[in-house]
Symmetry: C2
């Protein structure tokens, strides 16, 4: 189809905390388990993999992804490439770029290189926004909303 175009999901959030705190929540398995999904395992080291599994509140497994850690720059950047999971995710990247602005650490989040914009892309865009909010709440209040306690947004979760 000639009207296909590469698609990126991008979100900006500002978190009232030092970049080192935000980086910790993005660069460690324990950190990720605090905002994305409780069922996070693996090793957060360059070239190693992390597995995230998602459940509904009644413990039905909804899906899982495996990502390879591509970049870990303390206080500045975390990048993953998805190597297993939903077909649409394979080969896509998630990037978290951090920078300090006054009292805030700004997170520029991107989930890039979707092959096309499908309904699932729109679902994931909305879910990533909920998880970015969860990341912000985890760091600012000590309590995030990782799966299975994530905000449900449609009939696919």
């Amino acid at each position: 189809m000639s009207d296909k175009k590469m698609v990126d999901i991008i979100h900006r959030v500002g978190i009232k905390a030092p970049a080192s705190k935000v980086y910790e929540a993005l660069s460690t398995v324990e950190g990720i388990a605090g905002w994305w999904t409780r069922d996070t395992s693996g090793k957060s080291q360059i070239g190693k993999t992390i597995v995230v599994r998602f459940f509904s509140p009644d413990e039905r497994e909804l899906g899982s992804m495996t990502m390879e850690v591509k970049s870990l720059e303390p206080g500045r950047k975390v990048q993953w490439t998805f190597i297993a999971g939903p077909e649409e995710w394979i080969g896509t990247d998630a990037t978290f770029d951090l920078q300090q602005e006054g009292d805030y650490t700004i997170v520029m989040f991107g989930h890039r290189n979707w092959r096309e914009a499908v309904e699932f892309t729109a679902h994931c865009s909305m879910k990533w926004a909920m998880f970015m909010l969860s990341l912000k709440e985890l760091i600012e209040t000590g309590k995030g909303r990782p799966s299975p306690h994530d905000i449900k947004i449609d009939n696919w979760n």
Copy 2:
């Protein structure tokens, strides 16, 4: 710049209500004031304009937009084109496509034809997600979170 590409923000939400209820919240000034911003005025009729103004909790004006109503298909679709507001928004479209799936009305939201993906695009993507959540809450619980009571996500609001 050769690597510029047209950019779309797309979000999917599912609301437990008939499409007619969701349509009402999108196609009337009173409805929009319940989830986007309290300060909504104008006429929701094809070819007419609606003005939305945003304030911080301490009543500082943060910005405003004017949109022309392009499409009103009861229970199915609402479309606006932005004709005044932030420079990046001029000429972009917001579209809400509705369809019933079981107990849910699925809203496929798109804010399309951004000229490029800038940091402000990422801010707006995150804000639209918060407002889609507000729309869902308005319809499911009777209480949305329109500006100035919207969820704040960074240092730009």
